[in-house]
């Protein structure tokens, strides 16, 4: 049995511990904001936070989440207030099809903890999530904007 929390709620899992966290979240917890994109940790559409760090949930087996606190896109906003990254994403009108964007937002929310005032080079070197609509122009603007919002919140 594996015990962990998702968005602050306790979960227990008794099934196949090889199953990636992604499919637990989508098929069992019915938290479908976390998306499937490649299954081999290449695209980042499935990004969630495990212990506050961005992880690609398609490649994290259930056996590895024992005792972990997991946050998904559904749990990113706090007290009905959008996370700074979500706000910046809306203001810059980043999304097109939108399918990769929950993973993008989760990845950036984690990235900005390590790089609170990122340069373009920091973004290029550390943000590798794939966007098939190639919304990278607005995404870059939104990342800088979100960083500024987070600075204000401190």
């Amino acid at each position: 049995m594996v015990k962990f929390t998702v968005n602050g709620i306790s979960h227990t899992f008794n099934g196949d511990e090889d199953m990636p966290l992604l499919w637990y979240l989508r098929d069992e917890a019915r938290l479908t904001g976390t998306k499937f994109g490649c299954g081999i940790a290449q695209c980042g559409a499935c990004t969630v936070h495990i212990g506050g760090m961005a992880q690609r949930s398609c490649s994290v087996p259930m056996a590895a989440v024992e005792g972990e606190n997991i946050i998904t896109i559904e749990g990113l906003e706090h007290s009905d207030r959008l996370h700074a990254v979500q706000r910046a994403w809306l203001e810059e009108d980043v999304a097109q099809c939108g399918f990769c964007q929950s993973g993008q937002i989760m990845a950036i929310a984690s990235f900005l903890k390590d790089f609170p005032n990122p340069s373009d080079k920091d973004i290029d070197e550390n943000h590798t999530n794939l966007c098939r609509c190639a919304t990278y122009v607005r995404m870059r603007a939104a990342i800088h904007k979100a960083a500024a919002y987070l600075q204000e919140e401190i």
């Binding site: 196949d16 499937f36 896109i73 009108d93 937002i105 590798t128 122009v137």
Partner: protein, 739 residues
């Protein structure tokens, strides 16, 4: 009067205290969920509804794949209706048909005599809706005004409308308070549409309506949906091109916990000389996706790979050599006398460009949900057209009538043409029928990249001749392709007095529409050729193009969604892009700027790209300036997004994307081997601009890409003198700079 008479096709009713303007349809008379449409007459097709609480809804069947139609379409209605566009909701309808004379008894539903457009793709959604949705808004507004005039005992000319109210001096009547009366009035004439100069909503920046749902991770895509009691299926499809299952053993698969059933899926069509719709394979149906995947891994299948076992990239390239040398050429377009003019040319160039197969790699892989019962087929799909979903399913399930289908289309996790093909949902229906329960089929990324309907591979051979002044007087364009779709008529075909466009076709991998079909590669080839000719003439590539348009003026362009090219529109966007890029300014060492322009589906695009190429061949895209002229711009913010995305999508394809085959199968089957651009490859500077005019609009989804790729290649040449004659660019610059 003819227009006015058409109004008899309309149905205007006061259903449940709402004004409803609709065109009658039949498709969901019986099969549809009454619960979801409980406030409406179940016999409605396209409709505009205003209820007593001022809630405005349009029922429409065009899905959104990220190009922003679900934002732009309400803007069209709101403009004529005079309401805040944010209050207009869109309810996606199933396919809309009406009864018709003829063989199958059904045809597309019409509104005011025009067929209602029901797909996203071909850059058609806005083009086909621009008049219709405004007409519906104008009809409703005219009725509300007439109802208010009768209520107040004043003349309609004394009334105005504003943000959901009919206004008479200080008296303001909300639309909601007028709906009952508005449904009963008789209009004297067809309501007049607004003049372009009076638009208040069309032409304003509006963020995507779905943006908040997307940022919160709400379930809005097919892959997120479920039906009660649903099972999940994963299918082992024959990885060999046009191959089939010889034999299989499912003993181990059936022992995987959660696996319920293993089902043979037969190729559609059975005739292997025809392009597949459904691949031959074996489906594993299980309680959840993971169990189905494990079950699939445990299958033991022997494939028949005999048809294309010899096919690999080297073989394919030799096939192209043969196509160029002695393929059966078909002349698509010819004017003047190429051979005579070329023989006399002052300077000549003979050159070939190549591009590989590209995959769609839609972010949401193909997915479909179906529940097949004795009396009904319920389908949730992520497809670009509801009509084709139903028509294709009717081919596979001929025992069912139109009104026994319940089709719901979700928002698409991108489409790019891939989701015109109705495969995943058909597979789901076949599985559902076999297992007697609803089934969801999810394609893995490997399934997607191995089994795609690829953008065709091609080789483009040009011979061009200049006169003493550097003008192109002769050109011969031979396009060899794995698909039978060509754009040899595109710019600059009609700007060259002696021109012959020819094609040779041989199919290998299945192919299908991919963002800007044909234009996407013709743009690369034709605009690289023009650039080479400009350099051969020793002239500035921007001025060279502008002069071609100035000298020739408007030219025919008998393509999809267009009849001719207007020279002034092309010159305008070339100048916009050049100005934003700072064309002609002194650039640092190693930098270069390239330009290209191309028409796609009636929309004009120009791109200027600045790159830096280091001594070791490292390429950096510094800045891109994209300008488009689609005609009337509904939502500039959305249009600019399409310029940005389309341009970077072009860069992504040009930089690294290449489907490779070996031993008769695709070997680049996930993002580790099929290389798509990340944010690091995107320029940090980008200017997107749309032209302003009141010409009937064309769609924005596809026009930017065909100009973006050659602009990038032309910039690379300007920066370092290396001409990209083969895509992808990959590590060509590193190799070239070393030598």
């Amino acid at each position: 009067m003819e227009n006015f008479n058409r109004r008899r096709f309309l149905k205007v009713s006061a259903a449940a205290g709402a004004l409803v303007i609709s065109a009658p349809a039949i498709s969901f008379a019986q099969g549809m969920s009454k619960e979801r449409y409980r406030n409406l007459d179940t016999n409605l097709g396209f409709y505009l509804k205003i209820d007593g609480n001022n809630k405005i809804t349009i029922g429409y069947s065009v899905p959104d794949d990220g190009t922003g139609v679900s934002t732009a379409l309400p803007m069209l209605v709101a403009e004529e209706l005079d309401v805040d566009f944010k209050t207009v909701h869109v309810e996606k309808l199933p396919p809309l048909y009406k009864k018709a004379e003829g063989e199958n008894g059904y045809e597309d539903q019409t509104y005011k005599g025009q067929p209602i457009h029901q797909s996203t793709g071909g850059s058609q959604a806005i083009r086909r809706s621009y008049i219709m949705l405004r007409q519906a808004g104008a009809e409703a507004r005219a009725r509300l005004v007439m109802a208010a005039a009768q209520k107040l005992g004043v003349s309609e000319s004394d009334l105005s409308t504003e943000n959901g109210f009919v206004v008479h001096g200080s008296n303001r009547l909300s639309y909601g308070s007028l709906v009952d009366a508005a449904a009963k009035v008789t209009l004297n004439s067809e309501p007049k549409l607004k003049d372009y100069a009076d638009y208040k909503i069309i032409g304003t920046d509006q963020p995507q309506k779905a943006a908040l749902d997307i940022a919160l991770g709400k379930p809005i895509y097919c892959m997120d949906m479920e039906l009660p009691g649903m099972l999940n299926a994963v299918i082992a499809r024959c990885p060999y091109i046009d191959g089939v299952v010889k034999s299989y053993d499912d003993t181990k698969a059936l022992k995987v916990p959660g696996v319920r059933k293993v089902v043979r899926i037969h190729r559609i069509p059975e005739d292997r000389s025809q392009q597949k719709i459904i691949s031959d394979g074996v489906a594993v149906i299980a309680d959840n996706h993971w169990a189905a995947l494990k079950g699939r891994d445990a299958l033991e299948i022997e494939w028949d790979d005999s048809k294309w076992a010899h096919a690999d990239d080297a073989w394919l390239n030799s096939e192209f050599d043969r196509m160029v040398k002695n393929g059966k050429r078909e002349i698509k377009i010819e004017h003047g006398d190429f051979d005579a003019a070329y023989a006399k040319a002052d300077k000549k160039l003979e050159v070939a460009y190549e591009q590989p197969y590209w995959a769609h790699a839609t972010m949401e892989t193909p997915c479909g949900i179906a529940d097949v019962t004795k009396d009904k087929i319920t389908v949730i799909a992520g497809n670009q057209t509801a009509v084709r979903v139903m028509n294709d399913l009717m081919q596979v399930f001929p025992g069912y009538r139109h009104d026994q289908f319940d089709v719901t289309l979700m928002r698409l996790g991108s489409g790019f043409g891939r989701k015109f093909i109705v495969d995943a949902v058909t597979e789901a229906a076949l599985c559902s029928k076999a297992v007697g329960k609803p089934v969801k089929v999810i394609w893995t990324r490997e399934d997607d990249l191995e089994q795609d309907f690829y953008n065709p591979k091609g080789r483009h051979v040009f011979r061009g001749g200049l006169d003493k002044n550097g003008k192109i007087i002769a050109a011969n364009y031979l396009h060899c392709s794995t698909d039978n779709d060509f754009a040899t008529h595109a710019f600059p075909a009609h700007n060259i007095p002696n021109y012959r466009g020819e094609v040779v076709h041989k199919q290998v991998l299945p192919s299908g529409p991919w963002r800007g079909p044909t234009e996407n590669v013709a743009g690369y080839a034709m605009q690289s050729f023009v650039d080479e000719m400009a350099h051969l003439a020793g002239q500035d590539p921007l001025e060279y193009r502008i002069n071609m348009f100035r000298e020739t003026g408007d030219t025919p362009h008998p393509g999809f969604s267009s009849d001719f090219i207007r020279a002034d529109r092309f010159i305008n966007i070339l100048q916009i892009a050049a100005k934003n890029a700072g064309w002609g300014k002194k650039l640092p060492k190693g930098h270069g700027m390239g330009v290209a322009s191309f028409m796609t589906f009636g929309g004009y695009a120009a791109a200027v790209v600045e790159v830096k190429v280091d001594d070791d061949g490292t390429l950096t895209i510094i800045k891109a300036s994209g300008a488009c002229d689609p005609g009337v711009v509904i939502n500039p913010l959305g249009c600019k997004g399409q310029i940005e995305g389309g341009t970077l999508d072009g860069f992504s394809a040009a930089l690294g994307q290449e489907i490779k085959i070996d031993g008769g199968r695709v070997i680049t089957n996930n993002f580790d081997t099929y290389h798509m651009a990340r944010i690091a490859q995107a320029p940090t500077q980008f200017d997107a601009e749309v032209a302003k005019n009141n010409i009937e609009p064309r769609g924005m989804g596809e026009m930017a890409l065909p100009a973006a790729i050659p602009a990038l290649c032309n910039a690379i040449y300007a920066a370092c003198g290396v001409r990209i004659r083969k895509l992808p660019i990959a590590d060509q610059l590193k190799t070239a700079m070393r030598s």
